[in-house]
């Protein structure tokens, strides 16, 4: 079932000035309820403009955004409700914390939705648990937290609104490998348990390869590809032409395939590659006893 759909979605900046630029150009895509969609595209490809239109932060200059079949701009006064249903976590969200305590900060969204203090608090505590934020941190000032903890608090603030669609823009930028793994695992877990739709924008093909079911590739304001992750990553050359690349491990698998090794060219993880390569190399190469 489709939850969010765009029809000929277009955004033009600076119309009528010499700086006129079409950032998003006639994009028609449909997001299935409960799917995990990855979005890739190099800087200037239009992905940020696109996601800002999905929850009504930008009003399209052409086309439509339909949330469960309804144009989100049908009643502009109700656009706030759309922002509760399509939750957005921006890049470096930790700079947006502002309340006295972490708990109050996470409760801000649910309270704006009109929930009671008690309900908002419950939502906040659940959201904090989802992002791995320790309960004892909730009464602290957000500014006493470490960078990674602040990031979790900011994400919890959006999750607490229980949005039907959760949009995350580069949630792991600047985190160390371990922090990246843990946060991605938590997002995946959240997605699995809640069954909400997740849209993850990332420059890390490795992260995208491990998490997303389908992939949207933005290029020059257009939706250049929208297909299962494996299918997109099997088109290495096309992606490189768009300033993107495939995960390292996928590249290795594709090169091995070109040498005649029977390995799936859309291999996405090291584990996946090992399952295929260990038996193959054991047949082909001398094996040492371990």
């Amino acid at each position: 079932m489709t939850i969010l759909e765009t029809k000929g979605l277009t955004y033009r900046y600076g119309t009528g000035t010499p700086f006129e630029k079409t950032a998003v150009d006639g994009v028609s895509i449909a997001l299935e309820k409960g799917e995990f969609l990855g979005v890739i595209g190099h800087t200037g490809s239009g992905k940020s403009t696109l996601i800002q239109m999905l929850n009504g932060l930008l009003r399209p200059t052409g086309g439509q955004v339909l949330l469960e079949g309804r144009d989100i701009w049908a009643e502009p006064k109700k656009i706030r409700d759309v922002r509760f249903r399509v939750g957005m976590v921006f890049q470096y969200p930790e700079y947006q914390l502002f309340e006295e305590t972490v708990l109050k900060d996470i409760m801000f969204g649910p309270k704006n939705m009109g929930l009671s203090d008690r309900q908002a608090r419950q939502r906040a505590e659940e959201a904090a648990a989802f992002t791995g934020l320790k309960p004892e941190l909730l009464e602290k000032s957000p500014f006493e937290l470490s960078g990674g903890e602040k990031r979790r608090a900011a994400i919890a603030g959006v999750i607490a609104m229980d949005p039907e669609v959760l949009v995350l823009d580069e949630p792991t930028a600047g985190l160390d490998p371990r922090g990246r793994d843990v946060l991605l695992a938590q997002i995946t877990q959240y997605h699995k348990e809640r069954g909400n739709t997740v849209l993850l924008v990332s420059h890390s093909m490795e992260d995208i390869g491990r998490t997303a079911d389908r992939l949207l590739v933005m290029h020059g304001g257009h939706a250049a590809m929208l297909a299962p992750t494996r299918e997109v990553f099997s088109k290495g050359q096309e992606l490189e032409g768009m300033g993107l690349r495939v995960p390292q491990i996928t590249k290795i698998a594709q090169e091995l395939g070109a040498m005649g090794c029977p390995v799936d060219p859309s291999t996405l993880t090291v584990d996946d590659a090992l399952k295929q390569l260990i038996p193959y190399f054991k047949r082909k190469l001398p094996v040492k006893e371990v």
């Binding site: 190099h42 800087t43 600047g174 160390d176 490998p177 420059h203 090794c261 190469l285 371990v290």
Partner: protein, 279 residues
């Protein structure tokens, strides 16, 4: 003597009056002129503090940082140390000050009192060195992230610094931007002999360095060539770090008993090795 000599340095941040939190517990590190060093470690291990100590933005609580024979902790040396060691930070939008690219690059040398004709020469040379000369008359805010970072690097080079310290310069960039910045850095190191200290979370960037230093808990944990450091896959993982996927693949193939001649660090090396093996 080494170009940069970090001697048993400790550093504490003041949480409140009289209460400090020590983040570096006695770090010693020597970096020679012309080296390309990657500095790795998880968030909070003290890497960024190290970067700021190297150009005198922070002063050690104990121990010494000596740059080109100058004690970086002494206030009277501050200007001289910053002429030698330039810092490039993570967010490209926070580092550009002027409305036109070449004016931004001229900002540093102007502040040093360099004569105008010399500034012109340095700005052109710096922009060419990072491949941004064609954009010299553009507005910085209209550039891509990778281009902005290269302008920030040019701004440092124009001060004729001998050493470039970069604190996660590619964290906010897309794959193309990351590649552009990495190419600019390696070229400056190779062709101009500029010493590079690169702090990064990307292992595929670290393997391009000549030397890899791993920090953990405010101490130096490992220090060696990339081949030497990255073959210690388990140890790195124990310290919350990672290895490139190519390295992990071959390491685990070996662990499963497949006899491989080496542990490659990059996709190219890995593919080359497989090609030879499979003939």
């Amino acid at each position: 003597m080494a170009f940069i000599d970090v001697r048993d340095v400790r550093f504490s941040y003041d949480l409140e009056a009289g209460v400090g939190q020590e983040v570096l517990h006695g770090v010693s590190l020597q970096i020679e002129q012309g080296e390309f060093v990657a500095l790795l470690g998880h968030n909070g291990c003290g890497k960024s503090t190290m970067a700021k100590l190297l150009n005198g933005m922070l002063t050690p609580s104990a121990g010494q940082v000596v740059v080109d024979g100058l004690d970086a902790g002494k206030e009277e040396n501050q200007l001289e140390v910053r002429r030698r060691v330039g810092l490039v930070l993570q967010n490209p939008d926070n580092q550009l000050v002027a409305g036109i690219v070449e004016e931004d690059v001229a900002f540093g040398p102007e502040n040093l009192g360099v004569p105008p004709e010399e500034i012109r020469r340095r700005v052109d040379a710096a922009l060419k060195a990072v491949g941004m000369y064609p954009y010299r008359e553009h507005a910085p805010h209209k550039l891509s992230g990778g281009q902005k970072q290269r302008v920030a690097i040019a701004g440092v080079i124009a001060m004729e610094t001998k050493c470039l310290v970069l604190d996660e310069p590619t964290a906010m960039l897309d794959p193309r931007g990351r590649q552009e910045v990495m190419e600019a850095i390696t070229r400056l190191n190779r062709e101009k002999g500029i010493t590079v200290v690169l702090i990064t979370h990307y292992m595929d960037e670290a393997v391009q360095a000549g030397r890899v230093v791993v920090m953990d808990g405010g101490r130096v944990l490992m220090d060696g060539g990339p081949g030497e450091v990255f073959k210690q896959v388990e140890r790195l993982k124990r310290h919350d770090l990672d290895v490139p996927q190519a390295t992990e693949l071959c390491y685990r193939l070996r662990a499963a008993g497949v006899e491989l001649p080496g542990i490659p660090l990059s996709v190219e090396e890995c593919v080359g090795m497989f090609r030879e093996l499979l003939g």
